[in-house]
Symmetry: C2
Subunit: 338 residues, 2 copies
C-alpha cells in the first residue's frame, strides 16, 4: 500500500532522521497534511495515526496580541532563550486572513532573523486554507509533526483575526496575551472574550512607560479577578492548588523579562500537571476538536444538499425579515436534508 509506505517513510525521517533529513521530512509531511486532495487526505490520516504515539511531549504555548504589540520580537527572544536552556522550539501560526492577504504574520521569516536560521528552531507560517476551522486544523496537525520530531516547546502564534484566539486557546496548554502598557486606555482595543482566555497576560514594551505599565498591570489583575475565574466550573479538589491568571511586565526588545515569563510558564505547568488540569485540558481539547470538525463537516454537507440549497437563501431572508420563525425555518430545512 503506497499510503502506508509513504507515511512510514515520513515517520522514520521525522522521528529518527538526521537534522537535514528530519527538516525535509517535516516539511513534506506538513505539506501532505495541508493538501486537500482526497487521496492525500487518506495518506495524511494514515500518517497522523502513526505519528500519534510520538506526540504529546511538548509544552504547547499559545501567544496572541494585536499587530504592533511586539509578538515577533518576543517570540524570537523567547525562542533563543529556550534554546539556550536546551530546548528545541517550533513556532507555528494561525492566521485565517492569510489566504486573502497573503498572510499578515510569519509570512516573512526575516521578522525572526536569528531564530529562523537556528538549527534547533522550526518556524512554519500559517497554512492558507481559507476558513479558520481549516487553518486551525492544519496547524494542529503540524504541531503533532513537530512533537514527533522532538520539539519540546511548540509556540502557536495568532494575531487574533475573527475567533482565532479561541482556536489557538483550544489547541494549547497555556494561552498568553501580549498587551501594550496603555491597555487601560481607549486606544487599545481588546476583543470581547479574549482577556478571559488568558492564563497569562504579558505587558510588553513596559520600559516605554513604566508608570502606565504598572497601572495596566494593576487594572488587568483586578479585572481578571472580577472576570469570574473563581466561578470556573473546572473540577479540582479544594485541597489542590490551581493556577490563577497572572499579569507580568516585560520588554522583549531589551531582552528583559523573558526569564520572568518562562518562570511563570514553568510554574503554570508544574501546578496544572500536579492538579491534573493539564491532562484534562488536552483530553477536553481532543473531543472538542473532533466535534468541531464533525460540526463543520455536517454543516458543509447541509449547505451543499440540493434541496437545502434551493431554499436556504429564501428562508434566511424570510427569517431575517421576521416573516418566518427561526425555529420553523430550521425544522423545514432539516426536513429537506435527508
Amino acid at each position: 500500500m503506497l499510503a502506508m509506505t509513504e507515511s512510514t517513510g515520513f515517520l522514520d525521517g521525522i522521528v529518527r532522521g538526521t537534522p537535514v533529513v528530519q527538516r525535509r521530512a517535516m516539511a513534506k509531511a506538513i505539506t501532505l497534511l495541508e493538501s486537500t486532495r482526497p487521496d492525500h487526505r487518506q495518506q495524511a490520516d494514515a500518517l497522523l495515526t502513526r505519528l500519534l504515539p510520538h506526540t504529546g511531549g511538548a509544552f504547547r504555548l499559545g501567544i496572541s496580541g494585536v499587530p504592533g504589540v511586539g509578538k515577533s520580537t518576543f517570540i524570537e527572544a523567547l525562542g533563543l532563550y529556550l534554546i539556550g536552556q536546551g530546548h528545541r522550539v517550533a513556532v507555528l501560526a494561525v492566521d485565517p486572513s492569510s489566504s486573502v492577504s497573503g498572510g499578515s504574520i510569519l509570512g516573512d521569516k526575516t521578522r525572526m532573523e536569528h531564530l529562523s536560521v537556528h538549527e534547533k528552531a522550526y518556524i512554519r507560517p500559517s497554512p492558507s486554507s481559507g476558513t479558520l476551522g481549516g487553518v486551525a486544523e492544519k496547524t494542529r496537525e503540524a504541531m503533532l509533526v513537530c512533537e514527533a520530531a522532538g520539539y519540546d516547546v511548540v509556540i502557536v502564534e495568532t494575531v487574533g483575526v475573527g475567533q482565532s484566539e479561541t482556536a489557538v486557546h483550544g489547541m494549547t496548554d497555556m494561552f498568553c496575551l501580549l498587551q501594550l502598557p496603555n491597555a487601560g486606555d481607549d486606544l487599545q482595543a481588546i476583543k470581547k472574550g479574549v482577556m478571559e482566555l488568558a492564563d497569562l497576560v504579558v505587558i510588553n514594551k513596559a520600559d516605554i512607560d513604566p508608570d502606565a505599565a504598572t497601572r495596566a498591570r494593576a487594572q488587568i489583575t483586578s479585572s481578571l479577578r472580577l472576570l469570574g475565574l473563581h466561578g470556573n466550573p473546572d473540577h479540582v479538589h479544594h485541597d489542590q492548588k490551581v493556577w490563577h491568571p497572572q499579569v507580568i511586565q516585560i520588554s522583549a526588545l531589551h531582552g528583559q523579562g523573558v526569564d520572568t515569563f518562562w518562570s511563570a510558564v514553568s510554574e503554570f505547568k508544574r501546578l496544572q500537571t500536579a492538579n491534573g488540569r493539564l491532562a484534562a485540558r488536552r483530553q477536553h481539547q481532543a473531543s472538542a476538536w473532533m466535534w468541531e470538525r464533525i460540526d463543520a463537516g455536517l454543516k458543509q454537507r447541509f449547505r451543499e444538499h440540493p434541496r437545502v440549497r434551493e431554499a436556504l437563501d429564501l428562508f434566511t431572508r424570510q427569517v431575517q425579515a421576521g416573516e418566518l420563525a427561526a425555529s420553523t425555518a430550521a425544522r423545514q430545512l432539516l426536513e429537506r436534508f435527508d
Copy 2:
C-alpha cells in the same frame, strides 16, 4: 385543515381576545408550542407563522444573576413600576435545570406575589424540555406569543445554569446582570464570559453596604472598559453614538433605583434604535437562532445514525486517549454518516 383552524382560533384569541379569553389562548398556544408531538409541531409552526406579523413590538429585556441576588424582588418592583407607567409586562424564564429539579426559578409564582396576580402582567415559568437549546427555543416562541398579545415589555429571566445567559442574551434586546455589592470579593463567583454579555450591570442590595457597592461599581466599570468593548467589531459609523455598558446601584427591596434602571434601559433603547444596532441585533439573532437549531438537529441525526452510533464511543475514547487524531476520527465518522 384542522391545524389552520386551530391556529387561527388561537391567533384571534391572542391578538384580539378579551383579557380572560386572551390569557386562556396564550396559555393554550404556549402549551401547543411546548408540545413534542409531531402533529402538534406542525400546528405550532403554522401558528408561529401567523403570529409573526403581530410580534416584535416589545422591548425584550434579559435579566440574569446568581440565586440570592434578588432577581424576583427586582422583577416584581420593576414590573409594577412599568405597569404604573402604562406598560404591559410579560415575565418568562430560561432554566435548563427545571426538567431535573422541578425548576429553581419562577416555579413558584408567589415569589412575585403582587405582579403575578396583576391583570397587566403575564408570568410563565420555564419550560422543561431538558436541553438548554430546547428550553430556550420554547421560551423564544412563548415570547412571540406575548408580543402578539400586546405585552410591550418582555422580561426573560435566568439563573445562569450552563450557558443559559448566552441563550437569553441571544433572544433579548438588552442583557442585564444583577450583582451583589461584594462583586469584587472572591465570595462572589461570576462565570467566565458572562460579564461581557452585559449591557447593564445592576448592583442590587446597595443599601446593605454602600461603600462596597461604590467600590464594586468602580471596579466593574473599569473592567468593562478593559474588557474590550471598544474592540467590538460591530459596524457603526464613527459619527453615531453607541451604548457603552454601564453600572448602576439599586435596592430593589426598598424600591430604590428602579426608575434609574428604567432610565438606563430607555437610553439604551433610544441610542441603539437610532444607530441601527437594535435592528441589527434582532436580525443577527434570528439567523443565529435558525443555525443553532439546524446544528442541534444535524448533531442529533448524526448521533442517532446507526453506523455512527456503533463507532462513536470507541472513536471518542481513542481520541481522548491520544490513539486517534481528532481530525481523523471526525473524517471517519462523517464517512459513516450518509
